[in-house]
C-alpha cells in the first residue's frame, strides 16, 4: 500500500473510534494526560499493524491495541497498579449481603458511581467499562481483553457484585454522615 492511500484508509477505518479508545484508556490509566499518551501510541501501533487488519471489527481491533498499550504503559510508569493480582477468592462477594440494598443503590449519583468504578481492581474495571460504557458484546470483550467467553461472563458478574458492594458502602457512609 502506498503511504498516502494507506493513511487515508486507516483514518477512515480507525479514526472514528477515537472516543472509544480514549474512554478505555482513560478508565484504565485513571488519568487524562496518560490516557492521551496511550491513545497516541496505540494509534501509531495500529497504523504499523494495519497491514494485518482485514476489515473485521475495527473498533474491537483498535481497543485491543489500546488495552495492550495501556498495560505496557502502566508497567513502565505505574508498576504498583499492576502489582495487585486479582484474587478471585478475595473478591468473592456473597449475594446475601446485597439483597436489601436496591433502594440505596438507586440513590447513588454519577459522581459516586465514577468513584466506585475507579476503585475497582483493574481486571474488573476493564470488563465493566467495555460492557457498560463502550457497550461491547461479550464476544467483542473477549477479543479486546483476550479472554475466553466464559471468563468474560463470570468476571463481569463478579465485577458488578463488587461494584454494588462498594456503592452500598459509600451510600451507607453518606446516609450516616
Amino acid at each position: 500500500m502506498e503511504g498516502q492511500s494507506k493513511l487515508a484508509s486507516f483514518e477512515t477505518a480507525v479514526l472514528p473510534h477515537l472516543d472509544a479508545a480514549y474512554n478505555l484508556a482513560r478508565w484504565l490509566t485513571r488519568n487524562d494526560a496518560d490516557a492521551q499518551d496511550v491513545v497516541q501510541e496505540a494509534y501509531l501501533r495500529a497504523f504499523r499493524f494495519f497491514g494485518g487488519f482485514h476489515g473485521e471489527d475495527g473498533r474491537a481491533w483498535l481497543l485491543g491495541i489500546v488495552r495492550n498499550t495501556s498495560y505496557t504503559w502502566m508497567q513502565q510508569n505505574r508498576s504498583a497498579q499492576l502489582n495487585t493480582p486479582l484474587d478471585d477468592e478475595l473478591h468473592e462477594v456473597k449475594s446475601d449481603d446485597l439483597n436489601p440494598e436496591a433502594l440505596l443503590l438507586q440513590k447513588a449519583d454519577a459522581q459516586m458511581l465514577r468513584q466506585a468504578v475507579e476503585d475497582l481492581p483493574l481486571e474488573f474495571r476493564e470488563v465493566l467499562v467495555l460492557r457498560e460504557l463502550n457497550e461491547m458484546s461479550y464476544k467483542q470483550i473477549a477479543v479486546v481483553a483476550d479472554l475466553p467467553l466464559g471468563t468474560v461472563m463470570s468476571r463481569l458478574a463478579r465485577a458488578r457484585k463488587r461494584l454494588q458492594q462498594i456503592l452500598v458502602r459509600h451510600t451507607q457512609t453518606e446516609v450516616l454522615t
Binding site: D19, F47, S95, A157
Partner: protein, 255 residues
C-alpha cells in the same frame, strides 16, 4: 434452576446475551425467587446509572489533531524507509548477480581461477626460460641414466621423485636439477624431444587425490599440470601440445 445459576445468568440476561430458552428460565425463576428478583432490580438500576452518559470520557479537543499529525509523520517516514530501500535494490541485485556469476565461473572452471596455480604457472614459465638461457644452468646432473639421476636427489630433497628415461619412446632423459618453486625445494627433470627441451617439475602434492591433466599456454609455452600418486607434476616446453600430452601420458603410465 438454582439461585446460584440464576445469579450468574442474570447478568447475561440483563446484557441480552442469553438465548430465548435460557431467558425464559431466568424470568420464570425470578417470579418465584425474591432474592433473585432484587438482584435483577439492582442490575438494571446499575445499568441505568451508567446510561446517563456522564461516565463516558469522550476524547478531549485536540487529541484527534495530535493523533492525525503523529500518524502523518509515521506515514511519511514509512514511505521514506521504503523508497530508500527501493533506490538501493537494483544496485544490490546487480552486485549480487555479479558475485553469483563470479562464484559460478570459479566453481565451473578451475583453470580460470586467479589462484595459486596462476601464480605458479607464471613462476614455472620464468624458471623454464631461465634454465634454457645458459647451458650450465640447464642441468645440475647430466645423465640419461635414471639410475644416476635419481640417487643424485638423495639428501637434497625431503622426498624421492620418480625418475624414468623414455628414450625408446622418443623422450630421452638428459639430466636433473634442483629448483625452488612454490615455496619449496622441488625436483626438475630435463627431457628432450629432438631440439625441444621439456622441464618436468615434481614435488609432493598437498592433497592426496589425483587430478587429471590441465593444459594452459603461457608466452608461447605449453604447460601441463596434474597430480598423481601423491606428487604434483608440471611439464613445460615449447613443444606442441599434442606431443607434450604424449609425454605426460608416458610419465603417468610409468607410475
Amino acid at each position: 434452576m438454582s439461585c446460584q445459576t440464576a445469579q450468574e445468568l442474570i447478568h447475561a440476561y440483563v446484557d441480552g446475551e442469553l438465548d430465548l430458552a435460557r431467558s425464559l428460565e431466568v424470568e420464570q425463576h425470578m417470579q418465584e425467587c425474591q432474592a433473585c428478583a432484587i438482584a435483577y432490580r439492582n442490575e438494571t438500576a446499575l445499568r441505568s446509572a451508567f446510561k446517563d452518559g456522564s461516565l463516558y470520557h469522550s476524547a478531549p479537543a485536540g487529541l484527534e489533531k495530535r493523533v492525525r499529525s503523529s500518524l502523518r509523520r509515521e506515514a511519511k517516514s514509512e514511505v521514506g524507509r521504503r523508497s530508500f530501500a527501493w533506490r538501493w535494490l537494483p544496485i544490490g541485485a546487480a552486485l549480487g548477480l555479479v558475485l553469483l556469476m563470479a562464484f559460478v565461473i570459479w566453481r565451473a572452471a578451475p583453470g580460470l581461477r586467479p589462484s595459486g596455480d596462476e601464480l605458479l604457472a607464471h613462476e614455472i614459465v620464468s624458471n623454464h626460460v631461465r634454465s634454457l638461457q645458459l647451458e650450465s644452468h640447464r642441468t645440475d646432473v647430466i645423465s640419461s641414466d635414471q639410475h644416476t639421476v635419481k640417487p643424485w636427489f638423495d639428501g637434497k630433497l625431503d622426498f624421492a621423485p620418480p625418475v624414468k628415461d623414455y628414450s625408446s619412446q622418443g623422450f630421452p632423459l638428459t639430466g636433473g636439477r634442483l629448483e625452488y618453486l612454490n615455496n619449496r625445494a622441488v625436483a626438475a627433470l630435463i627431457y628432450q624431444r629432438q631440439k625441444h627441451y621439456i622441464n618436468l617439475y615434481i614435488w609432493p602434492a598437498e592433497q592426496r587425490n589425483a587430478t587429471s591433466e590441465l593444459a594452459t599456454k603461457r608466452q608461447g609455452y605449453n604447460l601441463l599440470h596434474w597430480t598423481n600418486s601423491g606428487m604434483t607434476y608440471w611439464a613445460i616446453s615449447d613443444l606442441n601440445g599434442v606431443e607434450l600430452h604424449e609425454f605426460a601420458r608416458l610419465v603417468q603410465e610409468a607410475q
